[in-house]
Amino acid sequence: MADKTFIVKIKRQQRSDEAVRWEEYELRYRPHMNVIICLRDIAEKPFTRSGSESTPVSYEANCLEEICGACAMIVNGKPRQACTALVDDLEKPIRLEPLTKFPLIRDLQVDRSSMFENLKRTKCWIPIDGTYDLGPGPRMSPETQEVGYALSQCITCGNCLEICPKVNENSHFVGAAIVSQVRLFNMHPTGKMHAGPRLEALMGPGGIEDCDNAQNCVKVCPKGIPLTESLAAVNGQVLVHAVKSFFRGS
């Protein structure tokens, strides 16, 4: 009996300045395959459907359990993590493309360092005095912890930026992930004391005002983070901060 097979089409580009080509691979079907397994199959036998020799596909992946955020790509038109994209659930042929809102490195691999850079610019950390023993941290209600925990699960995958109509060459919105992190740090008892600079960072170009409420972000977040709530909450915080610092000085 011939093995059951299926087709995977991959958008490939050696470098961002080189020509795009779509390659088709015919892979042997096994139960419970995901997109990562498809890419490994190709790496082991990098021959396209027409039989011509190609190279293993470049892509980012690490934990393979949807918690490191590395393997985000566009699978059948939707940005998602490749490790949880199960072949059984996907329409065939499966189409794989790199995220489009980040500089391309090669094939399915992109450079998302801008997100980490933006976490830096928005001062997303708790400024502790030092690592020496200063006793326990501030008390926190279980309710606050619950909200904070939901926000702190952001894996910086970039799906929310990919899907956002306000992230493109004409607009440099930081994206819901970063705004949501600002909310996280602004709600922490210590982080709250330093909310001002974070909010001010979100007032410049690319800041919170660029959000036009299309609310796509929340639909593609693999961690189910309440991003639209974060956007609204931080919008309110920025406004109050702006009004306060105008009338009372900062």
Partner: protein
């Protein structure tokens, strides 16, 4: 992506003003405009009285300039800039809010064109003096009527949906349930404004006075 690349808060201020101006004064004026024009549903005389009243308010040109022309021009032109900074993707990702975003962009453009034309024909060509007869004459033209209906629908949608956006963007509605409630409120506004606005122009087109029965 360059947060704070320029430390200027100008863009924040402009964005906030754009958002605010859509509600006050533009949205508020639209409510007033639909209210006063609703007299067309009552009688010719009443309509002309109210129009004359409005056309004779003190400081008229100043008020029109500050409360109407400048805000509308700013809201519209800056809105075009915001339109330019977006790239719709609702075809591939047809979620409700995504469609609302797309519609908000395009209704804004259509409404802006319509309002410009409406102001030109009804405010400037008539040098600020129009009567029931003038308006009715224009609306006898089916193309006029069609454009009015499209323009009113777009403006009403843009306002209703804009109120929902406003609630989210000013941090008034934060929780998902509050945002949903704000969405229903916006939808109600859009439907009500569309209904009233369309009713007015159709009544004018046919010279009918559906609410005139209890006037005398």
């Amino acid at each position: 992506m360059s947060v704070a690349a320029a430390d200027s808060k100008t863009s924040y201020l402009l964005d906030k003003l754009q958002s605010l101006s859509g509600v006050v004064p533009i949205g508020a004026f639209l409510a007033e405009h639909f209210w006063s024009n609703s007299y067309a549903l009552v009688s010719v005389g009443k309509y002309n009285d109210v129009s004359r009243e409005l056309q004779q308010i003190p400081w008229r040109i100043m008020i029109e300039t500050c409360v109407l022309f400048i805000p509308i021009l700013f809201h519209g032109l800056y809105g075009c800039y915001i339109w330019w900074t977006g790239k719709s993707n609702a075809i591939g990702h047809p979620w409700m809010a995504n469609w609302l975003y797309v519609l908000q962009r395009w209704t804004g453009i259509i409404a802006f064109v319509f309002i410009g034309w409406h102001l030109y024909t009804e405010r400037f060509m008539g040098h600020g003096v129009t009567s029931y007869a003038d308006v009715q004459r224009n609306l006898m033209n089916p193309w006029y009527l069609t454009f009015y209906i499209v323009g009113i629908t777009c403006a009403s949608f843009h306002l209703g949906n804009g109120l929902w956006n406003f609630a989210c963007k000013w941090g008034i509605a934060v929780s998902v349930s509050a945002q949903r409630a704000a969405g229903w409120f916006g939808a109600a506004v859009a439907v009500a404004f569309t209904f009233i606005g369309v009713a007015i122009v159709i009544a004018l087109h046919y010279g009918a006075f559906p609410l005139g029965g209890y006037v005398q």
